[in-house]
Symmetry: C2
Subunit: 207 residues, 2 copies
DNA sequence: ACATGTGAACTGCTTCACAGCG
DNA sequence: CGCTGTGAAGCAGTTCACATGT
């Protein structure tokens, strides 16, 4: 398949959210222009984004809401359950483990790990924190698809190396570190410090 | 000033992190190439990024670590304290309030708000959760610089409108919503659901 | 008539390559 | 000589504009 830009995937994800909203409101068709307005983009952008994957619309009419939503779920790989493990049960890891919003879209948290004996064994809304020493064993047994990394900066690369060696192919990284991974592994990094500094820059340099 | 790309600012932020690491290790000079390797980019990119703001290096030698770190702090606006309020003290908001990592770089959490009477008054590591009804009054009195939005999706736009009307110029948004704000307000959105879907897409469509 | 789908034009970020200077 | 600083070239993502289909 032709390479799809990251920005395109993010917009597809946004379109799906809007379509689900329209779906619950009982609307059956939508135009690229309406979709664009909700997503803060342009109708041409919407049509171009969708065109990478086929022709889903009817000329002169627009798109069928349920059909397009279905196609987007397919494209984004949301037609199945993804097993997610959380590594690091500190403040952020624990908050994510307790956050039940992911379940909705098919992301199931199957385990939470920590290296601190004080934390191992704690209950997080029904999930017992496991010993990080068992990561490899558990990954070989349970085959989780995605690892959420919420460990301290200094541990991030070492833990990532272990996850990759054990077969993990997708990592959502909350540590403020630039992770090195082989090309077959996908990493998305959420760096709150960086975002705050981006705001600091904007506040400082606005004219 | 010439417009600076978002990607450039994010890299500057990363360079600063590496420089601080070098600083603590006592190194005094660094080349664009070393900086590039740590940041997963190229030396030309590093030099181009810096060139927007001046000429900080010595030809044939590289950059002075403390000097460049200082210049980057200046550029990013980190030479001062930024007052940050957190709106929404649910799982994510509370975790952020307790996360002391922000303090390090000059971001001080001055208040936390929630609309739920069950939550108002709770103590989060020394910060009492305030009633969201007092947002406007407090903003006029305390002049916070940045608002972190950690409220449910349905409330996100309405709360943003209140913040903007009260004078907030920078928002870090954790709600899965596309916020509408006037041009003088900067918004950065962290959308974990979208990141997970990006990983789902990558896992589904890798060849 | 109306909205899609798509080459072509455009914009802007990244990479190249080399002149300039310590 | 080595590494920076920077125009020029290259490339990728966005926008334009219109032919196409209903």
């Amino acid at each position: 398949m032709k390479h799809i830009a990251d920005s395109t995937v993010r917009r597809l994800s946004a379109y799906l959210r809007f379509l689900e909203d329209f779906e619950t409101r009982g609307l059956t068709t939508i135009s690229s222009d309406e979709l664009a307005k909700r997503g803060g983009t342009t109708s041409a952008q919407v049509r171009k984004d969708l065109s990478f994957f086929g022709s889903f619309g009817k000329r002169g009419l627009g798109y069928s809401v349920p059909e397009l939503a279905g196609r987007l779920r397919e494209i984004l790989g949301l037609g199945r359950e993804w097993k997610v493990i959380i590594v690091g049960a500190g403040k952020i890891g624990a908050a994510l483990a307790r956050h039940h919003g992911f379940q909705q879209r098919g992301f199931t948290i199957t385990a939470v790990y920590d290296a601190d004996p004080q934390i191992v064994g704690l209950d997080l809304d029904g999930l017992a924190v496991r010993d990080a020493g068992h990561l490899e064993r558990d990954i070989h047994r349970d085959h989780p698809d995605i690892a959420v990394l919420a460990v301290p900066e200094q541990a991030a690369q070492a833990v990532t190396d272990r996850l990759v060696r054990a077969g993990i192919k997708a990592v959502l990284n909350f540590a403020p570190a630039q992770l090195q991974v082989p090309p077959e592994v996908t990493v998305k990094t959420v760096n709150m410090a960086m975002e705050l500094e981006g705001l600091s820059f904007a506040l400082t340099n606005r004219e």
